[in-house]
């Protein structure tokens, strides 16, 4: 039996979504040279500014294109559902984002994205644009701490992109933007929990089986199996389980500051996210950690997957400034 979706034709889903995004956000976004898979911020790129190009597969909206705008990313390359964009749109984005000060590529650590962005960087290097790459690796369930470089990038992308985008917008050098991006990534930690599967528009089949009373801790944003399949627990128990791991890995002394992201993987409603957030804040208060800002909503989804993730970024003064820096994106604003 096929899953229910409000689409026309599965093969057209990504392009039709982009057409709808452009219809809603033409004040912020424009396609580069008419390419629907390469969207650039209308007021982002400018001479002397490091360009920030992000990207990845579709199906994670508002990631990635929703974070394109002045003060955050300059351009996003858009792939097929759950598939890296090819080098062509990445190169289009790079040229559009280039202000002569170099371009930073930032995306989640997945083999396909690495190959396509690396191919684009090689080819664009021949045109004389200097490209640096910072991969996001915030999903602490995907590999042990000693293998941080193998971890995948999930909802914590948002904090890492935000910090880097602010650094770029402040007209800092490519070296400085890269340093801040790496620092933000090193201090960002996420774990998700899935309650149900998702289905691709082209297959309309659940991409894994999940029992009616089950949850999976640590599941990836493409349905990659996580670290444990368990009976569904209460919100407080789930949050405690996640927070125990996040706090242990973050290892922040009392009096530290964090920002929090409670993110829906797709179909989990705000009600449940806020119930989770209640417990997150209690745990942080118990640990004597100050919460500087909290973000609750859908920031990095996995199509219609049920479930949520919690991300902490361990702030210092510099990262706090980057987080508070204004931005005006299609689907996210800081005023």
């Amino acid at each position: 039996m096929q899953t229910k979706k409000i689409i026309n034709n599965g093969d057209d889903a990504v392009d039709e979504m982009v057409e709808g995004i452009l219809a809603a956000h033409s004040d912020t976004l424009r396609p580069v040279g008419g390419n629907l898979r390469a969207l650039v911020a209308k007021n982002g790129p400018r001479p002397g500014k490091v360009g920030l190009v992000i990207g990845g597969g579709s199906g994670h909206e508002p990631s990635f294109v929703g974070f394109v705008g002045k003060g955050l990313a300059d351009a996003a390359a858009i792939g097929n559902v759950f598939a890296s964009p090819p080098p062509d749109p990445i190169m289009e984005c790079t040229k559009a984002a280039d202000g002569g000060a170099g371009v930073l590529y930032m995306y989640g650590n997945y083999a396909g994205d690495v190959m396509n962005f690396d191919m684009a960087a090689e080819m664009i290097g021949m045109d004389g644009i200097e490209v640096r790459t910072v991969l996001t690796t915030d999903d602490i369930a995907s590999a042990p701490p000693a293998e941080r470089h193998k971890r995948r990038g999930v909802a914590g992308n948002f904090f890492v992109f935000k910090a880097a985008g602010a650094a770029c917008d402040m007209m800092l050098s490519l070296d400085e933007c890269e340093r801040i991006a790496r620092k933000a990534n090193d201090r960002t930690f996420t774990i998700g929990v899935a309650l149900g599967a998702c289905s691709l528009p082209q297959t309309r089949k659940w991409n894994f089986e999940m029992g009616p009373d089950e949850m999976e801790v640590g599941m990836g944003i493409h349905g990659e199996p996580g670290i444990a399949r368990e009976p569904l627990q209460s919100a407080d128990q789930i949050v405690d389980r996640i927070m125990d791991q996040l706090l242990a890995e973050m290892d922040a002394p009392k009096g530290s500051k964090v920002a929090v992201l409670v993110n829906s993987l797709g179909s989990t409603p705000l009600m449940e996210l806020y119930i989770m957030n209640r417990r997150v804040h209690r745990r942080l208060a118990d640990a004597r950690i100050e919460t500087h800002r909290t973000f609750v909503g859908t920031y990095c989804s996995s199509l219609e997957m049920a479930g949520a993730s919690i991300t902490l970024i361990h702030l210092d003064d510099e990262l706090q400034r980057m987080l508070d820096h204004p931005c005006d994106c299609a689907m996210f604003q800081v005023k």
């Binding site: 792939g79 559902v81 062509d88 083999a111 396909g112």
Partner: protein, 213 residues
């Protein structure tokens, strides 16, 4: 069997497109066990784009290298993902191996498989045993090189390469993934054939059928 022309290669790509389209559901199902269930879609999109791009060209006016380079570019930009760069690099290496030639001598044709395997290995950096498409491509390339160097007829060499790819793909069921998206599964990937290796075995089989004459 006579030398392979650009027209023969275009025919091969058309056969690949048809066969992969037919196996799309099977490949997605395999990928559903250890990935995100879209491998068949990506492969069908890629080879479909290749067939359309080649249909627009006049075989008499282009070299075998042009055919492979057109295939590389159209596959890459239709797919992205992991299979895009891997197969695009494979086709570019095959094109480079026959640069400047109007046709490929029959006994040299298995070298296409060797060049493709090298390209995939260089781009993806996977090693045999990592549970990836390399576990099908690498044994196929070894069989092709051995047969070619021993001076065996092309049909026999292609048959050996095909068998090696199929056995290599089947063997991935007993491997724990250590590269690509399913590597995050660790032990839980055991018992499942790698979808990239399964599609690689199909690609080698179609190439063998089409090129062995």
């Amino acid at each position: 069997m006579s030398a392979l022309t650009s027209a023969d290669l275009i025919k091969m790509f058309r056969a690949l497109s048809e066969r992969i389209e037919a196996e799309k559901g099977f490949l997605c199902e395999l990928d559903g066990h250890i990935g995100d269930a879209d491998h068949g879609i990506a492969m069908a999109q890629g080879f479909g784009a290749v067939a359309r791009a080649l249909d627009a060209l006049d075989p008499a006016a282009i070299s075998p290298t042009d055919v492979f380079n057109t295939a590389a570019k159209s596959f890459l930009n239709a797919v992205g993902a992991s299979s895009g760069p891997l197969y695009a690099t494979a086709f570019m290496r095959a094109g480079a191996a026959f640069k400047g030639k109007d046709a490929i001598a029959a006994d040299e044709a298995p070298a296409i498989i060797e060049a493709m395997a090298r390209g995939i290995q260089d781009r993806g950096k996977a090693e045999p045993g990592d549970k990836t498409m390399i576990d099908a491509w690498q044994p196929a390339a070894v069989a092709a090189a051995a047969g070619r160097e021993a001076g065996k007829p092309a049909a026999e060499v292609f048959a050996a390469a095909r068998k090696a790819a199929e056995e290599g793909a089947a063997a991935t069921a007993g491997m724990v993934a250590s590269k690509g998206r399913s590597s995050r599964l660790g032990e839980r990937s055991l018992g499942h054939v790698d979808p990239g290796a399964a599609s690689a075995a199909i690609v080698v089989a179609v190439m063998a059928e089409s090129l062995a004459g």
